[in-house]
Amino acid sequence: MLKRNFFPSAGLVLSLLLILFPAPVAAAATTDLAPQPVAASAAHGANDLQDDVWEEESWEEEWQAQESLADPLEPLNRVFFQFNDKLYYWFLKPVARVYDLFIPEDLQTSVRLFFDNLESPARAVNCLLQGRVRDSSVEVARFLLNSTIGVAGFGDAARDVAGLRSSQEDLGQTLAHYGAGGGFFIMWPFLGPSNLRDSIGRVGDSYMHPYTFLDLEREVTIGARVFERVNYTSLTLGDYELFTETALDPYTAVKDAYQQYRNGQIQNR
C-alpha cells in the first residue's frame, strides 16, 4: 500500500531533478592502471604506477567528508536503531548461527550471489537512466548469463568467465546523479539506515525486481527477504558487534558510515 503511494512521487522527484544540474565529481588528473593482483611477496606493479600531479584543491576535497546529513527524526531513529539492534541479537544472530552450522560457506556465497543477481534488472534500468548505455548492457548481459550458465544466479559466471562486473547502481544513486541530496537520515525498522532519497529509490527499485514481475505473494517475498538477510548475516557474523562495540555512540557511527558509503557509491562511477 505504502509502495503505491510512494511510486508516483519517485517519478515526480526524478523529473523535477532532471532539470537540476548533475554534480560531477572533480576528477583528479590521474591515470587508472590495470588492476594487478599481488600476492604476499611480490613487489611488482609498483614500477608501472605513475606519480600524478593534480590541482592542489582537489586533494583535500576528494578526501574531505561532506556535511553531516540532517537528522530531524533523531529521537525516533534512535528508537528504531535500538529495535534493529535487538532484532539482530535476539533473532538474526541466533538464527544465522544455526544456519551457519549447517550450510557451508561456499553455498552461502552462492545464495548471496543468487539474491544479488535479482537486483540486475533494476541496475540495468538505473544505468540507462543515468545515460550509461554500456553499463546498462553489461547489467543485462550479467543477468542473462548468470541466470542461465550461472545456474540461476548461484554463481557469478558473468564476472568469472566474461569479466563483466556490476556497476551496482540503484535508483537512489540515479536521483543523486540528477542532483538530489540525501534529504535527511531515516533509520527504518527491519531495513536499517537510509535517507529520504534512498528510501524513495528503494521503493522505485522494488518495482523493477523479479519478485514484482513474478507477482509473488507478499508472504513469499517477505520470506525470501528474511532468508536473504539470514544468509547475509551468517556470512558477516561478528561484524555488527565489532563495529558497534568500537564506536562510542553506535547510532552516530552507523549514520555516518551510511552517509559516507552512499556518497562513495554516488561519486564512483
Binding site: 586533494w59 578526501w63 562486473r165 531495513l191 558487534e241 562510542l248 549514520k255 558510515a257
Partner: protein, 210 residues
C-alpha cells in the same frame, strides 16, 4: 539500493578489516621507496605473519595479534589520526591529555580493524592507483575475496623521510571521519573527561568479550 544496507555497510567497514590494515601495515621502508613501495612492503610483512602456519595455532593467537599490531604501529601515524579525529578540540587539550587520548584511540582502532584478524583466509590485494603530491599520497587498493571486491584507499603523509598512513577509506568510509563524528557527539555533551571514560569502558567490554 543494496539489499541490506546496514549489513552491507558493516561488511564494508569490517569485512575487509584484516586486509585493510594489512594492506596499509608497514615496516621500515626501503631507502628511497615511494609510498606504494612502502605500503606494499608493509603489507607483505603482515601477510607473512597471517600466513605463517606456525602462528595459526590457538595458543599463539595473542602473539600473532601482537606481531601484526607491531607492524601496524610502524606504518600508521596514530598520533596524527587521533589528532584529526578530534578536530578542533585537540588544541584545547594539555600535552598529557593528548598523550592519553592517542593511546586510547590507538587501542580503539586496533580493536575495530584488527579484531577480525583470525578470519583471514586467502584474500588477494590489488593495487589500482597511486597519487603522489609532495609529501602526501593516496594509494588505491582493492581486496578480492570470493564474490566481493572491496575498495580501500590509504592516505599517506611523508614524515622524516618515511611514508605513514594517516587515514584509510574502506568502500569510501573514512576511519578518521567516522570517529570524528562519533567523538564529536560525546565531546559536545560530556567533554574530554566523558570521552576518555567512554572509550575506556568500550575497550574493557571488547577486551573481555574477545
Amino acid at each position: 539500493m543494496g539489499k541490506f544496507l546496514q549489513g552491507k555497510i558493516l561488511t564494508v567497514i569490517l569485512g575487509a578489516t584484516v586486509l585493510s590494515l594489512v594492506a596499509g601495515v608497514g615496516s621500515l621502508p626501503a631507502a628511497g621507496g615511494g609510498p606504494l613501495e612502502q605500503l606494499q612492503q608493509s603489507m607483505d610483512e603482515v601477510l607473512g605473519i597471517l600466513q605463517d602456519e606456525e602462528l595459526k595455532s590457538p595458543e599463539r593467537k595473542e602473539e600473532r595479534r601482537k606481531r601484526v599490531i607491531l607492524v601496524v604501529n610502524e606504518m600508521f601515524d596514530f598520533r596524527e589520526m587521533a589528532r584529526s579525529s578530534l578536530g578542533q578540540s585537540w588544541n584545547s587539550l594539555s600535552p598529557a591529555e593528548q598523550e592519553k587520548f592517542v593511546g586510547l584511540f590507538t587501542s580503539l582502532v586496533e580493536e575495530r580493524y584488527i579484531g577480525k584478524i583470525d578470519s583471514y583466509t586467502d584474500q588477494k590485494v590489488v593495487y589500482t592507483k597511486e597519487l603522489v603530491k609532495g609529501d602526501r599520497a593516496m594509494i588505491y587498493t582493492s581486496i578480492v575475496d570470493k564474490d566481493l571486491d572491496i575498495p580501500i584507499v590509504y592516505r599517506l603523509q611523508k614524515e622524516n623521510g618515511r611514508w605513514l598512513a594517516v587515514d584509510l577509506k574502506i568502500e569510501n568510509v573514512s576511519l578518521v571521519v567516522n570517529y570524528r563524528r562519533d567523538f564529536d557527539v560525546i565531546m559536545r555533551k560530556e567533554k574530554f573527561a566523558g570521552l576518555v571514560e567512554k572509550i575506556s569502558s568500550q575497550l574493557e567490554k571488547t577486551q573481555t568479550s574477545n
